[in-house]
């Protein structure tokens, strides 16, 4: 896709000859500040208001969820597994959201009741008398773990397999792409359900895989890289033929240098956008598994599991567990998708002036 050389007599050559007019830049000692792709990207992203707000919300959610244990030891929230009781030691089950009046205590099994945190009931309590606010915060850990781990795996596997296939044509490319097609042909949810069901019984695997969200995260990572690999491969195949890569090769650059310095930075945009998309999907799939009862086993709180339980409670009129867990889930995924959209616009060089 190269422009034909300007024919003689055209004045393309006349206007794009900066060396002929050095005095322009030197005028009044003003050097023209170069604008890098990175500056451009930031300018465009900042202009995308929704994406910036989403990034803020997402950062807040991540911070709260990651720091949950610290907040618990600071006494801001409670243990997500213990019950709340009132002055008389009666369990506070299905209490609607209300502000703290200082009469609520937590009762760990077999222990003395201690005063609960001030936030104990602001999202109400569930059917077992556990505080929904605490559980929503802790429930995010499964979602974010899955989102983060799956995202990392997809970005790594997809980029690696896609770039190898795209950079080495022929047999390597063919076999890798057949393998990618195979993985893409596997139905995600049905397999995830099977794995979710049997994971707790897979005793030969270490505990950190079978007991928490890590198993699901790894599975989703293994199954979801196909789309990105295809995109990266296509990008590599086109970039490989570009003049600047030819030039680098002619200058004696090693394959590694060409890939990491010249091709990969130019393929960053689809990698980032596709990975964001996968993170959102992974969080939804994990929540769906927990909802179906094949995710992280209770009593560990998860947004999907709480939504399932909240749905049953809402039938009896206790709407809060459903509403708060579902909102947390939707806001998180929505923020990720909005951010992804903003990133795509910001990384897409064709979208400079079009957008109004």
């Amino acid at each position: 896709m190269t422009e034909p050389p300007p024919p003689s007599g055209s004045f393309v050559g006349a206007v794009e000859e900066p060396s002929e007019s050095p005095f322009l830049d030197d005028a009044e000692g003003m050097a023209v500040e170069p604008i890098t792709q990175w500056d451009l990207f930031w300018t465009r992203l900042r202009r995308h208001r929704l994406a910036m707000i989403s990034a803020g919300i997402l950062a807040f959610i991540i911070m709260v969820v990651v720091l949950a244990p610290l907040m618990e030891s600071a006494g801001w929230i409670d243990d997500p597994l213990v019950r709340l009781v009132d002055d008389g030691g009666r369990s506070l089950r299905n209490i609607p959201p209300r502000l703290s009046d200082g009469t609520v205590s937590v009762l760990p099994p077999g222990e003395q009741a201690v005063p609960a945190s001030a936030t104990a009931l602001i999202f109400g309590s569930d059917d077992l008398g556990r505080g929904v606010f605490t559980r929503v915060i802790y429930g995010g850990r499964a979602s974010l773990t899955v989102g983060f781990v799956t995202g990392l795996m997809v970005a790594f596997l997809g980029t690696m397999i896609g770039s190898i296939a795209g950079y080495y044509p022929g047999g390597v490319d063919q076999s890798l792409m057949r393998f990618t097609d195979l993985v893409l042909g596997l139905p995600l949810l049905p397999i995830a359900i099977v794995v979710g069901r049997i994971l707790p019984e897979m005793d030969f695997l270490p505990d950190w895989i079978t007991r928490g969200p890590m198993g699901i995260a790894l599975l989703l990572g293994i199954l979801s890289w196909g789309g990105l690999a295809r995109i990266v491969r296509a990008e590599f195949m086109s970039l490989r033929e570009k003049e600047f890569v030819e030039a680098a090769r002619a200058a004696g650059a090693s394959d590694r240098r060409i890939v990491f310095r010249h091709i990969l930075p130019n393929a960053m945009s689809p990698i980032i956008v596709q990975t964001t998309l996968i993170v959102g999907i992974a969080i939804i799939v994990e929540a769906a598994l927990s909802f179906l009862g094949f995710g992280v086993p209770p009593p560990t709180p998860t947004w999907g599991g709480m939504a399932a339980e909240g749905g049953r409670l809402a039938v009896r009129g206790f709407w809060w567990e459903l509403v708060f867990s579902a909102s947390a889930l939707i806001v998180t995924v929505l923020s990720i998708n909005f951010l992804g959209d903003g990133l795509r616009d910001a990384l897409d060089p064709t979208q400079t002036i079009e957008r109004k």
């Binding site: 057949r178 097609d181 195979l182 042909g185 596997l186 139905p187 995600l188 949810l189 049905p190 397999i191 359900i193 099977v194 794995v195 069901r197 049997i198 019984e201 897979m202 005793d203 959102g280 939804i284 929540a287 769906a288 909802f291 179906l292 094949f294 999907g304 939504a307 399932a308 749905g311 809402a314 039938v315 709407w319 459903l322 579902a326 889930l329 939707i330 995924v333 929505l334 990720i336 998708n337 909005f338 959209d341 109004k356």
Partner: protein, 383 residues
């Protein structure tokens, strides 16, 4: 083209084989045998005996897999009621050859696809074929009958949802693209994002609560049912009553699925339409003096529909898998709910049958999508 399709089908078979091995192995990894629950009941001893023999349960995993695969591919029943299937296939072959010679390239593919769809339908209706998919571990009977007894329900739900999503989502996306950056466009884009980002179980549960439970509690009117496919007194109802009853059961689950795919279609259609609207050939069409409506309908839509048609065929492929959650929420007696039940008890003949059905759908619809793509875009060549 034929060699291309054959190649795709062969790759598809390899994928299916891999899928079956993966899922089979996974199912075997669960602690405790699949027969554990049956063992609790002493009267089940002969059944256990029978199942063990049928599936070779006392043998190593790979032997069990081979046994399963052999059974899966074995035809246990085959009968033809009349000559019609053979006539249909013969006619389809003749039609393919004739149309292939006669028609312009991009209508040719569509016509041939249509002819084969009709032929296949005639074949299915007039033929009884049954594979030896075995007996469910839970004593629920023959797996083939169990699965195909539920196909109708799943397709009723899936096709209704697809229909809803298409007739709303596609025009919505087109309208948004034509009125880019208008208030309506912004609203549509935001709404699409919200639905796209909402897990289907939240939409399902939400609709169930709002429209069936709370609505009924506030107004005293029972508008929709929240569970099942028909009421228990369905057989006693009049024709109008039957239709009404069916619809009142169908609306909520169908809308749940439709809302999410609708958001996807609208977004996709909008993007695809925008790309076409900014193309040079559209400017040419305007410069010819074509009225705006004709520019959009004849020149823009035809091009903008190409990627959407592919998306829809892939959506059909995921119909069974996509309905798993919705069917569970709405107690819909389809394949998805059967899948969840079977997974719960590691009823592997049933689980395997359904997984393979999903896989086969994906392979077939992928090929169909490729053919449709070639049909709609004359630039695509299969070689």
């Amino acid at each position: 083209m034929l060699s291309y399709i054959t190649r795709r089908l062969v790759y598809g078979l390899v994928t299916l084989l891999a899928l079956s091995m993966i899922v089979f192995t996974l199912l075997q990894l669960s602690g405790g045998g699949p027969l554990d629950r049956l063992k609790l009941n002493p009267r089940m001893q002969p059944v256990i005996q029978q199942l063990t023999e049928l599936w070779g349960l006392d043998q190593p995993i790979w032997r069990q897999y081979v046994t399963w695969l052999k059974n899966y591919l074995t035809v246990s029943e085959f009968s033809v009621h009349n000559m019609l299937p053979f006539v249909a296939i013969g006619a389809a072959v003749v039609a393919t050859v004739v149309l292939g010679k006669l028609m312009k390239s991009h209508w040719k593919g569509a016509a041939i696809l249509g002819v084969w769809a009709i032929a296949m339908y005639i074949v299915f209706v007039n033929i009884t074929i049954k594979f030896n998919w075995g007996i469910s571990f839970q004593g629920a009977g023959d797996v083939w009958d169990l699965v195909f007894g539920r196909v109708g329900a799943t397709f009723r739900l899936g096709l209704s949802a697809l229909f809803l999503a298409l007739i709303i989502g596609v025009p919505l996306g087109i309208y948004q693209a034509v009125r880019q950056y208008s208030f309506f466009d912004q609203l549509g884009t935001t709404a699409s994002f919200v639905f796209f980002s909402t897990p289907i179980f939240i939409i399902g549960v939400g609709l169930q609560l709002i429209f069936a439970l709370y609505f009924e509690r506030w107004t005293g009117v029972k508008l929709f049912y929240v569970a099942g496919m028909n009421s228990s007194n369905y057989d006693t109802l009049s024709v109008a009553g039957k239709i009404g009853d069916t619809l009142r059961h169908l609306v909520l689950p169908a809308v749940s699925i439709a809302l999410i795919s609708l958001a996807g279609y609208a977004r996709f259609q909008r993007a695809s339409m925008l790309e076409v609207l900014h193309s040079d050939y559209l400017r040419t069409a305007k410069a010819k003096g074509l009225p705006r409506s004709k520019v959009i309908v004849k020149h823009a839509l035809r091009n903008a529909m190409i990627p959407v048609v592919t998306l829809v065929s892939l959506d059909i492929a995921f119909m069974i898998g996509g309905a798993i959650i919705t069917e569970t929420i709405f107690g819909w007696p389809g394949i998805g709910r059967l899948y969840i039940t079977a997974i719960g008890t590691i009823d592997y003949p049933v689980v395997m049958a359904i997984v393979m059905l999903i896989g086969i759908m994906i392979v077939i619809m992928n090929v169909v999508a490729d053919i449709l793509y070639g049909v709609m875009d004359p630039r695509v060549r299969y070689d």
